[in-house]
C-alpha cells in the first residue's frame, strides 16, 4: 500500500509544482468550449436543433481527459531520459504495482483537470439534470482517466524517445477525438462517421457521460459502461505488457 501511495504522491507533487502545466492543460479545452460552444451553438440554434453548448460539455470534458491522460504517458519517456526509470524498474516491486501507482496519479491529474473544465462550464451556464448526477459523472470520468493513462503509458513504453511518442500521438489522439461523438450527434452524422465512431471507445465514454448528466444518449448506458470497463482492462493489460518489455 505504501508503494502505491508514494508513487501516486510523486505524480501529484510533480503536477502541483508545475503551474504552467496546470494552466496550459485547462486553457485548451476551454478554448474549444468557447469557440465551438458559442460559435457553432448559434448555428445549431438557428437550425432549431439541440442546445449545442449543453451537448458539447460532456464531449469537451472527455476530450480533456483524453489529451491529458495520453500526454501524461510522456513521463515514462522523461523518466527514461533522465534515468529515474531505472530506479523504478529494478525495485523489488511488481511492474503492475509501479504502473498502477503511477497511472492512478496520472488519472487523478486528468480528473482534476476535467473537473475544473466541468466547473467552469457550470459557471458558463451548463446545467445537469440534477445536482446528484455529478457523482456518477465523476465515476465515469475516473474510469476513462484510468483507462487512458494506462493507454498513454503503454504507448510511451513502446517508443524510444519523445519524437516517436508525438508521432504516434498524432495518429492516435486526434482520430480518437474527431472520430467520436464528442463534437457532433451520431444520429445526424453520415454513415461512415457513425460506423467509425461506434468503433471508438471514447464514443461510449462520452455517451455515458451525456446519459448521466443530461439524460439523453445514443446507446444504452449498460453498453456504455461495459465498453468503458472493457477498455480499462485491455488498456491495463497492454500497458503492463509494454512496460515489461522496456530494456534500458
Amino acid at each position: 500500500m505504501q508503494v502505491l501511495s508514494v508513487l501516486w504522491l510523486r505524480q501529484m507533487r510533480r503536477y502541483l509544482r508545475s503551474r504552467s502545466r496546470i494552466i496550459g492543460s485547462i486553457g485548451q479545452p476551454l478554448l474549444f468550449l468557447l469557440a465551438l460552444g458559442y460559435g457553432l451553438g448559434a448555428v445549431f440554434e438557428r437550425a432549431g436543433e439541440i442546445d449545442y453548448l449543453e451537448f458539447l460539455v460532456p464531449g469537451i470534458i472527455m476530450q480533456t481527459i483524453l489529451f491529458s491522460s495520453i500526454f501524461w504517458g510522456a513521463i515514462i519517456i522523461f523518466d527514461r531520459r533522465f534515468g529515474f526509470l531505472s530506479e523504478l524498474l529494478v525495485a523489488p516491486v511488481s511492474r503492475l504495482k509501479i504502473l498502477s501507482g503511477s497511472c492512478s496519479g496520472g488519472a487523478t491529474i486528468s480528473l482534476i483537470q476535467a473537473t475544473t473544465v466541468l466547473a467552469i462550464s457550470v459557471i458558463l451556464g451548463f446545467r445537469a439534470q440534477s445536482i446528484w448526477v455529478y457523482i456518477p459523472a465523476l465515476v465515469i470520468m475516473a474510469i476513462l482517466s484510468l483507462a487512458l493513462t494506462s493507454f498513454g503509458a503503454a504507448l510511451a513504453s513502446s517508443v524510444e524517445d519523445f519524437q516517436g511518442f508525438q508521432a504516434i500521438n498524432s495518429f492516435v489522439m486526434f482520430p480518437l477525438f474527431f472520430l467520436s461523438n464528442a463534437l457532433y450527434p451520431l444520429d445526424s452524422a453520415p454513415d461512415i462517421l457513425r460506423i467509425l465512431a461506434s468503433l471508438n471507445p471514447l464514443t461510449y465514454a462520452v455517451d455515458g457521460l451525456r446519459y448521466v448528466l443530461l439524460g439523453a444518449s445514443h446507446f444504452s448506458i449498460a453498453l456504455d459502461v461495459a465498453v468503458l470497463l472493457a477498455t480499462l482492462v485491455v488498456a491495463t493489460m497492454f500497458a503492463v505488457r509494454q512496460f515489461n518489455r522496456i530494456q534500458i
Binding site: R10, V90, A91, Q247, I248
Partner: protein, 269 residues
Amino acid sequence: MQRSAIEAEGVTKRFGKLVAVDDISFKVDGGEIFAFLGPNGAGKSTTIKMLTTMLRPSSGKLYLAGHDVTREQAWARKSFGIVFQDPSLDEELTAYENMELHAALYHVPKIEQPERIIDLLKLVGLSERKDSFIKTFSGGMRRRLEIARGLLHHPKVLFLDEPTLGLDTQTRNVLWDYVRKLSKSEGMTIFFTTHYLDEAEEIAERIAIIDHGKIVAVGTVKELTKKTKTKTLEQAYLKLTGESIRDETSDANDGLNMRSAMRIRSLRG
C-alpha cells in the same frame, strides 16, 4: 556447499552487430568485495545491467545466490541494491522525497524511515539541503545523494557502478569506509566498477579485468601482478588492456554514457 553470491556462465550481450559482453564467466563469493575494471566501453555497465534485470543476456546464464536472474526477475530484484553509473534521481522532487520514495519501494518500515534517511543524508553531508530540489544540486551533490539512497536498504548484494565518479576525496573515503563496514557486519557482497585503480587496489578483495567484452584476468592484486610480472595494479592493468584509448567503442555511443562523458570532461577541466 555455499552457493556463490553472483555467478555468470558464458554470458554474451549483443547490441545489433556489436558484441558488448563476450562469453564471460565468473563467480563472486558471499561477503566478498569484488571489483570490475576495464577501459571505457569494455562492457562493465552492460554486465551489471544484465545482473540487475535491466537487460536480458543474448545468451548464457546469470545467478544471484543460485537463482536464475532472467527467469526469477522478481526474486532477483529483492536481493540486490544498486547505484547506477548514469543519473537516476527525480529532478522535480527534493532530496528527502527521493530518499522516501526509495525507502518505500524497498519496503523499509515506515517508522524507521525518517531516522535512516536523515542519518544517511548526514553521512554524505546533505542533511541541510534535504528539502532542496534535485535540479538545484551540483553534480557531486547528486552523486552523493544517489550513494546515500543506495545505502538506504541493506541488500544481500550491492552493485556500485562507478560510485565515486565526480566525488571529492572526503566523500569517497566516507563511502568506502561505510561499504567496508557493511560488508563485514552484514556479510554483504559488493560488486563495484571504477576507473580509479588505487581505489580498487585498496578496497577490492578480488578484481576482474574486462576488455572488449572479455574477461582477461581475475584474481587478487597479488595474483594479477604476479601473472603479468609487474609491480603495481596499474602496471598489470595497462599490460592487460594496452595503452591505447578506446574511442571507437566508447565515444560513439550516442549519449548513453553521457553522464560519464560529461563528468570526465569536467574532471579534465
